[in-house]
């Protein structure tokens, strides 16, 4: 594919379209069953392929494709599939006003079935049929597996990346594709064993699971499952067991033991002379293999590594749109979606979070819908709904929290800020803090509470994430630090009349 070999991806959308091509062509090569969704996006693809040969900027691409569509008159097709691929806040708004093709079937949010369909489409569990934005990674995993099966050799692969970047999902997809491919290409389909390591009661249990899958009736208690496996893979194989074995190990870092023996043995399995297993490990840490497997490395059997980066803003946007495209109507304001994608991408790039935020925005919208009696202008989830949802997810409401605290706890916070301000320090102990607190209390003619109660209040504050109380043998020696910005505290307390004079001499 010429398109996929574009060396530098100047923008996310180009990556997206390129990858779509790639996948589609792969799909065509395989001749896999074409459902209506795929056929539709294929037709959308045609237009984009036509537009691609000039590797232009995103906006150019967009206009180009529109022009083609207009000229060809594939209007409905386009409006269903294409235009959501590459929106941008700037272009979209002008296009919304200008482009008549954007008139879609309207969404009726008062219909519970439709709301339900939207929620379902946005749920984490409902995985889409084809995975967008991860085509490269998926392809490299698939190629690796194919190569292993073609050459009938073993291999190991390590997939790493942040949570919520689609690792398990795409490996699962690869598994399905591989079995399909093997059937078509005339190879014996590999046995597939996927294990989530959190479900193992102890790390070495993984070998017994493998051997159980490989030889379900093997009853040999003389040696351990690991020894069985090693024996099996180091002897010349019998004809009966000619199948490849694909082992998918999810959350691989749970196999870590003190001496890393299990991890090491597992990777060593694929290096044995007659080994037939394809090992795919999935975990969050990037350097698991480097850190814990020096011996494997020295044998020059270091596993290939595929890294899943956190999703970028455009990718998140694209994935959400791909999920919603099935429904065929506008649910979110484009700018709202973009806002969500930007926020999530900036925070973590976690797709789960983005989906959760969208869902929560729909709930905000629903709540408003319930309150609104007159049926005006509540047809779409707007920017402000998304804003509420995002602020719920990302911005802890420190000011509100502080203002709703009990008074003595507010005094403690005030005394912490004051103490740090005066002493130019950023840590203190409970004993010192108590003294500073008593001072403020006395200054305002409030009886201070006892030491025990004071400690309890400090714990409550640390539970709410405002203070950090360390560990110490003696209560008085416990280290206290402020977890939030001091100016936040001052800002929050300023609005309470009681603290006016406490904070006054702070500002001198």
């Amino acid at each position: 594919m010429p398109v996929s070999k574009i060396p530098s991806f100047s923008s996310g959308s180009e990556l997206g379209s390129a990858v779509v091509n790639d996948l589609e062509i792969a799909g065509r090569c395989q001749g896999s069953s074409t459902n209506w969704k795929r056929s539709r996006s294929q037709s959308a693809l045609k237009s984009s392929i036509k537009s691609v040969p000039s590797p232009a900027k995103r906006i150019a691409l967009r206009r180009c494709s529109n022009a083609i569509v207009d000229s060809k008159g594939e209007c409905c097709d386009d409006s269903n599939g294409e235009p959501r691929v590459v929106p941008s806040s700037k272009t979209l708004r002008e296009e919304r006003s200008s482009d008549p093709c954007f008139q879609r079937s309207t969404w009726n949010p008062r219909d519970p079935a439709q709301i339900q369909a939207v929620k379902e489409a946005l749920h984490v569990a409902s995985a889409p049929d084809n995975i967008v934005c991860r085509e490269d990674e998926q392809k490299s995993i698939l190629d690796f597996c194919k190569a292993c099966i073609e050459q009938d050799k073993s291999g190991s692969l390590y997939v790493c990346g942040c949570p919520g970047t689609g690792k398990s999902l795409s490996v699962k997809k690869v598994k399905e594709l591989l079995v399909l491919w093997a059937k078509e290409a005339g190879f014996q389909a590999p046995e597939v064993l996927s294990i989530n390591c959190t479900l193992l009661t102890k790390a070495s249990e993984i070998f017994s699971k493998v051997i159980e899958k490989l030889h379900p009736h093997l009853k040999n208690n003389s040696c351990s499952p690991l020894q069985d496996l090693q024996k099996l893979y180091s002897q010349k194989r019998q004809l009966s067991s000619g199948k490849m074995m694909m082992i998918i190990v999810d959350e691989m870092d749970y196999l870590r033991t003190r001496d890393h023996q299990v991890l090491h043995d597992l990777f060593m399995l694929s290096t044995l002379p007659y080994s037939q297993c394809i090992l795919i490990g999935i975990a969050n840490t990037i350097d698991l293999a480097d850190r814990f497997l020096p011996r494997v490395e020295s044998l020059n059997c270091k596993p290939n590594v595929v890294t899943y980066c956190a999703y970028s803003k455009d990718q998140i946007l694209k994935i959400i749109q791909q999920r919603l495209i099935v429904l065929g109507y506008d649910i979110f304001e484009p700018i709202a979606l973009e806002f969500c994608a930007r926020k999530v991408a900036a925070a973590s790039g976690d797709m789960r979070k983005a989906l959760d935020v969208c869902r929560s925005a729909i709930e905000v919208f629903e709540a408003e819908l319930r309150l609104a009696t007159n049926k005006e202008e509540l047809k779409i989830v707007r920017f402000d709904h998304m804003d509420i949802a995002l602020s719920r997810a990302f911005k802890p409401l420190i000011v509100d929290t502080i203002q709703s605290l009990p008074q003595h706890q507010q005094i403690i916070l005030c005394s912490v800020v004051k103490f740090f301000w005066q002493c130019k320090k950023n840590a203190t102990t409970i004993g010192e803090l108590n003294r500073s607190y008593s001072e403020i209390c006395k200054g305002n003619h409030i009886p201070p509470v006892g030491m025990l109660e004071f400690t309890n209040m400090c714990r409550a504050l640390s539970d709410q994430g405002l203070l950090n109380v360390g560990q110490a043998k003696e209560i008085k020696q416990k280290r206290v630090t402020l977890k939030i910005d001091g100016s936040d505290v001052i800002f929050a307390l300023k609005e309470i009349r009681f603290f006016n004079n406490c904070l006054e001499f702070l500002n001198k």
Binding site: S126, G164, T201, E363, P406, H408
Partner: protein
């Protein structure tokens, strides 16, 4: 049974005399004709001795003079005088006692009380309910009332015993609702109840022999496991109970052999239904009853699970114990021959007692709830007492104010997850400081929803509530969840496997279709393990397509999800709900709703308490506790007052007593002040001076320790400068020792009192706080 005689026969020692004799007799008994089992004594004997005293009749037949059909040698294994005065207990596998062989595993009747009101002896043979004769005719038993009827006495007479269930005409008529008059016995005849009837009317006990031994003093004892009749269980007799059903309990007792009456036969269901003519003493036992937990368990399941659940390791253990058992049996049997001699006389000395150690056993009387004394029930509650009762934390108030918004949100969350056809898994994390009604709100929401389910407006779901504090280890959560879903109790590893199948692959658990499941995890932070795998698994399930799992997690810390591994917090979703601390209006409202209709508190008192609590923690529990304690104090005050004034004017006590500010104030003092401060405040004058001088000296020196010598010098200098009496050395020592005992100060171990080092156990601030404005010794505050 068969093994024992053969074993003893192989032995070189003189063969046990009981074996040849007991074998045939027992077998004879088992194969005896229906309704006329041949027993160790003549059936006619009870009737002859009917006039004898109750006690002696209750005694085992050995004491009856009429045992002509038993050869003397068989009656008791006595080979001679006690030749082996062993100090140890000797255990037996089989004991022949009064001519009857008792073996481990046998079921026996046991006398219930020493002074049991028994109507004479228990005849072995039941009389016909119609003609009240025994006769040698075939009898048929009614399956309902268990009465026996001669086939010939029935109307119409039966030719042979009918197949299947048979109910007598009287019971049938009674079931139809008629008043039935049973045939009255002839006036001269005394109705005797059989042992079976006594057992079923709980005048006797049945027990299973677990072990048999001889005490050093020569008496035979046995350890027995009780059987219970259904009436004695907590559940009472259920409609499905058979008349002859017993429950095996897990309660055992050691009893003396003398209390044993004779054999009965407790059978498992299979044997019971096959046994048609085993006699009257046949019982059915399918379940074991736990007397402490009032739970039932199928015996066959207990035995099976013990074998298959724990795997090979346990099996070995079991075998091992069996082996050791048999070993001891062999040992004991060897000894048996030499140590047989229990003197016949000895038993006769205890002739009148069912048990020679009176009042030592009879464990079943301990079971069961105590009677509530009548005067407690009919005591009329005063307003204050009602108020106190309403303020107890355990009471569930009718309405839950101040959390309506949060409860609506929870309701919307659960409904949104469940209502639709395809339940999508979700998580909600609820956080807030203690005592802000987190758990209570969720539970009340779930109650409302379950009433909606009953009304049919909502899909049924299963609700599982788990408190992290109640789990022995975090892994046990799998066990609890699985048990709640399927009713089976398995180990956590197995449960994890099943749950994973259920949630991630959608395989059915149990017979029903998988319902949506709401899982409430209280004290979520306690489920943290070192690698957090438990939380990972739990929060991973809702992200699976077929899980139908909704999780509500509750914890105190706001930032728990951020403290977890990122992969877990990613799965946990973003839905959070914060329960802020209550402010004083809310607390006031909570207390007032609880006290609705009870006029016991002054308005201001409640406001004072709620303001005080709201200023510190906003913990509703604490506010309620303070109010309750204040009510306690007021109640106490009132009672004292009324006891004083009762003499003069009894009417004045009827005047209402409201809980006032003073009561609340003193309750707050109790709750908010640590005990050591109260001790310091109430300690003697001299100890206050000592404490203050200690604080003073420590402050001056900057050290953390002080010798007693120096302390004494400081005390005397303080006293002299403030015109106090200078205390003597040993008075001071005594005061110091007392404070040391209270652990207000820490004394160094040692004998040299003069140089003993002293240390304050509490921060000097607390001492200062406690003694700052002490009215007794006002000059103390200048040294603090």
């Amino acid at each position: 049974m068969a093994a024992t005689p053969s074993k003893s026969r192989v032995k070189p020692s003189p063969p046990a005399p009981q074996t040849p004799a007991s074998g045939p007799r027992r077998s004879l008994r088992l194969s005896s004709t229906p309704r006329t089992p041949v027993h160790c004594y003549d059936p006619s004997s009870p009737r002859k001795s009917a006039k004898k005293s109750k006690r002696s009749l209750l005694k085992t037949p050995a004491f009856c003079p009429i045992t002509p059909n038993l050869p003397e040698s068989k009656r008791r294994r006595r080979s001679g005088p006690d030749s082996n005065p062993s100090k140890k207990k000797i255990y037996f596998k089989r004991v022949v006692f009064d001519g009857v062989g008792f073996e481990i595993g046998d079921a026996v009747y046991v006398k219930r009380r020493e002074d049991a009101e028994s109507d004479g002896d228990e005849p072995e043979v039941e009389e016909c309910r119609i003609c009240f004769e025994v006769g040698n005719f075939v009898m048929v038993e009614c399956d309902d009332c268990l009465g026996g009827f001669h086939l010939g006495c029935l109307k119409p007479p039966l030719k042979k015993v009918p197949e299947g269930d048979w109910i007598c005409g009287y019971c049938e008529a009674r079931k139809m609702g008629k008043v039935v008059e049973l045939p009255k016995p002839p006036a001269w005849k005394k109705i005797k109840r059989t042992a079976k009837e006594k057992l079923l009317s709980s005048d006797l006990w049945a027990a299973r022999i677990e072990s048999l031994w001889k005490e050093p003093d020569g008496t035979y004892w046995l350890r027995c496991r009780w059987y219970m009749i259904p009436e004695e269980t907590a559940a009472g007799r259920q409609p499905h109970n058979l008349r002859r059903e017993l429950y095996r309990t897990n309660d055992t007792a050691n009893i003396e052999m003398d209390s044993v009456i004779r054999h009965c036969f407790v059978m498992n269901p299979k044997d019971f239904f096959e046994a048609n003519d085993e006699g009257d003493d046949v019982f059915y036992c399918e379940y074991e009853y736990d007397v402490h937990w009032h739970s039932f368990k199928r015996i066959s399941e207990i035995d099976n699970s013990e074998e298959c659940d724990e795997g090979a390791g346990n099996d070995d253990e079991w075998k091992l114990s069996k082996d050791s058992d048999s070993q001891t049996d062999e040992d004991s049997e060897k000894e048996e021959d030499t140590a047989q001699g229990t003197s016949y006389r000895k038993y006769q000395t205890h002739q009148l007692a069912a048990n020679s150690r009176r009042g030592r056993i009879f464990g079943l009387q301990r079971i069961g709830a105590k009677r509530i004394p009548e005067h407690v029930r009919c005591h009329k509650q005063t307003e204050l007492e009602r108020a106190k009762a309403m303020l107890v934390l355990a009471i569930l108030p009718k309405s839950l104010p101040c959390r309506t918004k949060e409860m609506e949100e929870i309701t919307a969350f659960v409904k949104g997850a469940i209502c639709d056809d395809q339940c999508l898994g979700r998580c909600l994390y609820i956080h807030g400081v203690p005592g802000t009604g987190k758990t209570m709100s969720v539970l009340s929401v779930m109650r409302n929803l379950s009433s909606e389910v009953e009304a049919g407006t909502m899909r049924p779901y299963s609700f599982i509530e788990i408190n992290g504090l109640k789990l022995a280890s975090p892994e046990n959560i799998y066990k609890v969840v699985y048990e709640a879903l399927s009713g089976h109790r398995v180990g956590w590893k197995k449960a994890l496997h099943h749950l994973n199948e259920r949630f991630s692959e959608g395989i059915k658990v149990g017979r029903q279709e998988n319902q949506p499941c709401v899982l409430l995890l209280d004290e979520l932070d306690l489920l943290l393990t070192r690698n957090q795998s438990v939380l990972y698994n739990v929060f991973d399930w809702p992200t699976r397509p077929h899980s139908k799992l909704v999780i509500i997690g509750i914890a105190n810390t706001m930032n728990l999800p951020e403290k977890l591994l990122p992969r877990i917090s990613s799965r946990m979703g973003i839905q959070r709900l914060c329960f802020g601390p209550y402010n004083y209006q809310q607390l006031q409202e909570i207390i007032l709703t609880r006290l609705e209709g009870i006029d016991a508190f002054e308005e201001q008192a409640i406001e004072f308490a709620s303001r005080k609590v709201a200023a510190m923690s906003g913990d509703a529990r604490r506010a309620l506790e303070i109010c309750r304690r204040a009510a306690d104090l007021a109640d106490y005050r009132q009672k004292q007052l009324s006891s004083c004034t009762k003499v003069t004017s009894p009417d004045s006590s009827a005047g209402k007593c409201l809980v006032g500010m003073a009561d609340v104030e003193s309750a707050i003092q109790e709750v908010f002040q640590a005990p050591h401060i109260r001790i310091m405040k109430t300690s003697s004058r001299l100890s206050k001076i000592l404490l203050v001088s200690m604080v003073h000296e420590l402050y001056k020196s900057g050290l953390s320790e002080i010798t007693f010598d120096k302390l004494a010098a400081t005390v005397s200098s303080l006293c002299s400068s403030n015109r106090e009496d200078i205390p003597g050395w040993d008075t001071l020592l005594k005061v110091g020792c007392k404070l040391g005992e209270c652990r207000i100060i820490l004394c160094e171990e040692g004998t040299k009192h003069k140089l003993q080092k002293l240390q304050l156990n509490f921060p000097s601030d607390d001492v200062a706080f406690a003694l700052k404005d002490c009215p007794e010794v006002p000059w103390l505050s200048k040294y603090l």
